[in-house]
């Protein structure tokens, strides 16, 4: 197989350029998609207080329905606070993300300027 990178005429630089292009286009840290994560957080904060009551045990469904009714006022009270916490967290993260975006934009601009100034 003629794949010896050290061989005469082997276009190592052009192959390196292919590797670099792939890295540039695909190197994305997990979490880069902040908008998507925020939507996930907001969905998670939308607490569902109606639990599934299906059961494969005899009488299981009735027991689950009864427990859900008995504890509904308490679970609802907790859920409202968790929902508020989730929404407040999402707002805080959204504000931070906007600041990070602005900082990244400024860093890129500075890097471009610096590269342009170099001979």
């Amino acid at each position: 197989m003629d794949t010896d990178r050290a061989a005469d005429g082997f276009p190592a630089e052009q192959l390196d350029a292919i590797d670099a292009a792939v890295k540039r286009r695909t190197a994305r840290a997990p979490g880069a998609n902040v908008g998507g994560r925020l939507r996930e957080l907001e969905r998670a904060a939308d607490i569902d207080i109606d639990p599934p009551v299906a059961s494969d045990q005899r009488g299981g469904r009735g027991v689950k329905v009864a427990v859900a009714k008995l504890t509904g006022w308490y679970v609802g009270y907790l859920a409202a606070q968790v929902r508020d916490l989730g929404n407040a967290t999402a707002r805080a993260v959204r504000a931070s993300a906007a600041r990070v975006d602005e900082l990244e934009r400024r860093v890129e601009e500075l890097e471009r300027r610096q590269a342009g100034e170099q001979p």
């Binding site: 292009a21 792939v22 286009r25 695909t26 998609n33 998507g36 299906a54 494969d56 469904r61």
Partner: protein
């Protein structure tokens, strides 16, 4: 009469798992079982096929077994957990969320949910069937028992439609070198970026007129955008085609035009396009990852890493060596024959029979 119903979250057109489900239903009926397919969502040319899951109790009667077709997340799992009937799972793989996390958080979250639901089914499942040893190993890890490898039902002959004549003519006119193809959704786990990089190296080193066709719809828009950007960066705009979704006739034309199928996917539960390529006598070069080595067998060239110039050299060696190419095509026909629909149906039905007999 023994009754085995199936539940599948979605019945969609051009979906291998949906096709498998309908063929399992037909095989069970041919074997004397009563069998229906219930799904939460049916659309396209599948809209009128099977029954709605919400109508299960009205139509199903007493089932001896409910077979759940698992390849995605679904609220049907909660429904299954509440049933009294014995449940079996037929697993076709759920892509690990880590592949999608950098690209599409919603898709990644959906995959995490799907895996968690699958884990919850482990304690309710009486039998787990996987369509590859790779998928079987995932089920064992999740706590399923017993786990059996059982074939995916595929009608590869039915996909041998006449190629789209206009497209075939257009492809022939454009031919100026070797033609690469890969078939699969544009998805991070399928690593089309590695195929593009290997193809760029192949053009650079051996064949400046070569072309690459990537057949398949988008699974993550940001990943598809990155692929388009990569093609531009590498100056391959006229050499790489993204087809989007295609008809069977168009797919046949693309396969007929191809000299080689290059698959550098890092996670596949089975990978039907490998068999489709073999059915069209297109030799395969593939990364030895996921279920790919099981599916390819000895009918393809497996590479251990996706380094562009090494993949390019492997493809070139295969295409220049007529004897090896012919041997691989012949081996591919044997693999396709081993996946014949009739034998797969018989094996699948026997697995269900054996399970029901053992249960008494």
């Amino acid at each position: 009469m023994t009754t085995v119903h199936q539940v599948i979250p979605v019945l969609a057109p051009h979906d291998a798992v949906g096709n498998h489900t309908l063929m399992v239903r037909d095989a069970l009926r041919e074997a004397g079982f009563t069998s229906e397919v219930f799904s939460e969502l049916r659309f396209g040319d599948r809209a009128g096929i099977g029954l709605a899951l919400s109508d299960y109790d009205a139509h199903a009667g007493d089932a001896d077994l409910i077979l759940y077709q698992s390849s995605t997340g679904s609220t049907a799992v909660q429904w299954l957990l509440g049933r009294r009937e014995p449940v079996a799972v037929n697993y076709h793989n759920i892509t690990p969320a880590s592949f999608f996390e950098p690209w599409d958080d919603e898709a990644a979250a959906s995959m995490r949910r799907a895996r968690s639901q699958l884990g919850a089914l482990a304690r309710r499942s009486r039998l787990a069937l996987a369509d590859s040893p790779f998928n079987a190993a995932e089920l064992v890890e999740l706590g399923f028992s017993p786990v059996q490898v059982s074939p995916l039902l595929l009608d590869l002959d039915a996909r041998l439609t006449a190629p789209d004549a206009a497209l075939a003519e257009q492809l022939a006119r454009r031919r100026d070198g070797r033609s690469w193809i890969f078939v699969g959704r544009l998805a991070p786990n399928k690593c089309q970026h590695d195929v593009i990089a290997a193809f760029a190296a192949y053009r650079l080193l051996y064949d400046p007129g070569a072309r690459l066709t990537l057949v398949g719809s988008e699974a993550a828009a940001s990943y598809a955008d990155a692929l388009l950007g990569l093609v531009d960066d590498l100056g391959l705009a006229g050499a790489v085609s993204f087809t989007g979704p295609v008809t069977d006739a168009e797919l046949a034309a693309y396969y007929d035009d191809a000299d080689v199928l290059v698959c550098l996917s890092r996670h596949e539960g089975f990978c039907v396009p490998l068999l489709e390529a073999m059915r069209h006598d297109v030799p395969v070069v593939a990364l030895a990852a996921g279920a790919v080595p099981d599916t390819v067998g000895a009918a393809g060239v497996l590479v251990e890493e996706a380094t562009p110039h090494l993949v390019a050299a492997t493809v070139r060696e295969l295409l220049e060596d007529e004897a090896e190419r012919t041997a691989l095509v012949a081996a591919g026909r044997e693999v396709v024959d081993a996946h014949s629909l009739e034998s797969a149906k018989a094996t699948f039905v026997q697995a269900i029979r054996d399970h029901l007999a053992a249960r008494g």
